[in-house]
């Protein structure tokens, strides 16, 4: 006997505890099972790309801060690299190292947020999240020493960084680097071996690696699917060819793999920072000959970097003026959502939330 039933349409979001901002999913449920899902976005659309056309190249940096607002440093980095390529600017080595240090710290901060909110989605009552905020706070304190701001940093500039870090910074960074591995172990003890976490996340939300590549999915999500693709390794920008680091790869391609890859990437990021601290040498952090108002030659440039969430790139077109003719962001958060519908169909409601959580999106970047 089959029960006569009709699907229940539920709007998950835009105001929902677990949509990481203002994403809205219109989901059809059959009982607890998702039968269809439609993603509706745009609640945070601020028209950054249009705004960028009205601002000078340096002013646009402040807009990039506000795209992925939990990883402002990497946004700055991607934009600045694209501007440097467009204008043919050679960056100062010390500035590049500082950019790498800040970007890797930001990667740790972003992964901390991702994992913390993922566990929040699993119902862990914010305990892992609170622990991760504790360490993220240390990173933000470092950023405050670096550039006077914690979230919207505006620290990178074409040809280097805005200003050299104070002497105090190195001591604090050393303290952080010494303490952080123990904290990551702590998270692993709390989360990785927990049977509830394992049973909730293993084998759920599995994606085929080929499909992921075809759907432009990048970052930890792709690496959790067994594809060794990391732009820092395959297309080194800055001085990533001078540091050695490992790319954690998992073949399971499920939610647990996506979680674990992020945790291991934090360790690798720490290694990169360590090597940068060893290699950095005194010198100018910024080319004084690069003016505030840049006038790059007519042309276009695209530079993609390995952001915390995936390939983050800026496509800039210059018409020879002081502001970009066209500024297009390649938002990893948005493109990683391409397969969301396929991922969640057939899952129970609870797993739908967790699967969405493992994608690690930031609505500021999705909507821009």
């Amino acid at each position: 006997m089959t029960l006569q039933s009709e699907p229940v349409i539920v709007n998950v979001g835009p105001q929902h505890p677990s949509t990481h901002g203002v994403l809205r999913m219109r989901v059809a449920f059959d009982g607890e099972t998702v039968t269809d899902a439609e993603m509706i976005i745009g609640y945070l659309h601020r028209g950054s790309e249009k705004l960028a056309e009205e601002r000078t190249f340096t002013q646009v940096i402040t807009l990039t801060d506000r795209m992925d607002y939990v990883a402002a440093m990497t946004n700055n980095q991607a934009y600045v690299l694209s501007v440097e390529k467009l204008a043919g600017i050679e960056p100062m080595p010390r500035g590049v190292y500082l950019r790498m240090i800040s970007a890797e710290l930001q990667r740790i901060a972003s992964h901390l947020m991702a994992v913390g909110f993922l566990l929040q989605d699993l119902g862990a009552l914010a305990t892992p999240l609170m622990y991760m905020f504790r360490e993220r706070e240390d990173i933000l304190d470092l950023f405050e020493l670096m550039c006077g701001a914690r979230i919207t940093v505006s620290y990178h500039r074409p040809s280097g960084v805005f200003q050299d870090v104070p002497d105090e910074f190195w001591g604090r960074l050393r303290q952080f680097l010494d303490g952080m591995p123990a904290h990551i172990d702590e998270y692993e003890r709390l989360i990785s071996g927990n049977e509830i976490v394992l049973s909730r996340m293993r084998g759920v939300g599995v994606l085929d690696p080929d499909v992921m590549v075809n759907a432009s999915i990048t970052g930890p999500m792709l690496r959790a699917g067994g594809v060794d693709w990391d732009l820092r390794h395959r297309a080194p920008y800055e001085f990533y060819d001078r540091v050695s680091f490992d790319r954690p790869i998992m073949d399971e391609s499920d939610n647990y793999a996506r979680y674990l890859v992020r945790v291991y990437e934090m360790r690798e990021a720490l290694k990169i920072v360590e090597q940068c601290v060893e290699q950095i040498e005194p010198g100018p952090v910024r080319d004084p000959d690069v003016p505030f108002v840049l006038r790059p030659p007519v042309g276009e440039s695209y530079v993609g970097i390995e952001g915390p969430k995936g390939e983050l790139g800026f496509y800039l077109v210059s018409d020879g003026g002081i502001s970009p003719y066209r500024c297009k962001v390649r938002p990893p958060s948005l493109l990683n959502l391409t397969l969301l519908r396929e991922m969640v169909i057939g899952l129970p409601m609870a797993d739908m939330i967790v699967t969405f959580g493992t994608v690690d999106v930031n609505m500021g970047e999705v909507d821009r």
Binding site: H45, S216, V227, Y315, R330
Partner: protein
């Protein structure tokens, strides 16, 4: 190190399997005829020596007298990137190019975004709706003539 295909190099590669599909090249981009674009895209993805498995970025640029669609492609196996440019018609009127969603799934949201903000239609896209803005929004904000 990821290597960018030079324009002429990639044009020669395309001409091998789709003669006459390209209309020219710039330093690092190939201009492809919109009519044959779908075949070219299929070849770019499936031919062993090219292997452009991923569409990194799809974007549109408003050049006042015409719209241009730019495809940044990436080959993971050869670690190379290539840039394809499509000119969609003359003038600002009916800007339309064929959708590549059947070739690269990743074009889905990017094409919708391009349609939403730039007003370039992608023919063959199964769900050509606005992405960022709401249904009923007038105009396409990223066009250069959109003021306000």
């Amino acid at each position: 190190m990821s290597v960018l295909y030079r324009g002429e190099e990639l044009q020669a590669e395309i001409e091998k399997f789709a003669p006459g599909a390209t209309t020219g090249h710039s330093e690092d981009a190939v201009h492809v005829d919109a009519g044959q674009w779908l075949d070219v895209a299929q070849g770019l993805k499936e031919r062993e020596e090219l292997g452009f498995a991923a569409l990194t970025l799809l974007t549109t640029v408003d050049y006042i007298d015409h719209f241009e669609v730019v495809y940044h492609l990436r080959s993971l196996s050869h670690n190379r990137t290539g840039v394809i440019k499509l000119r969609c018609g003359e003038g600002r009127g009916d800007a339309a190019v064929p959708s590549v969603i059947s070739v690269w799934r990743g074009a889905d949201l990017q094409e919708r975004e391009a349609y939403d903000l730039m007003g370039v239609r992608f023919e063959g896209h199964p769900n050509m709706k606005r992405l960022m803005l709401w249904e009923g929004f007038e105009g396409h904000p990223l066009r250069k003539d959109y003021l306000r």
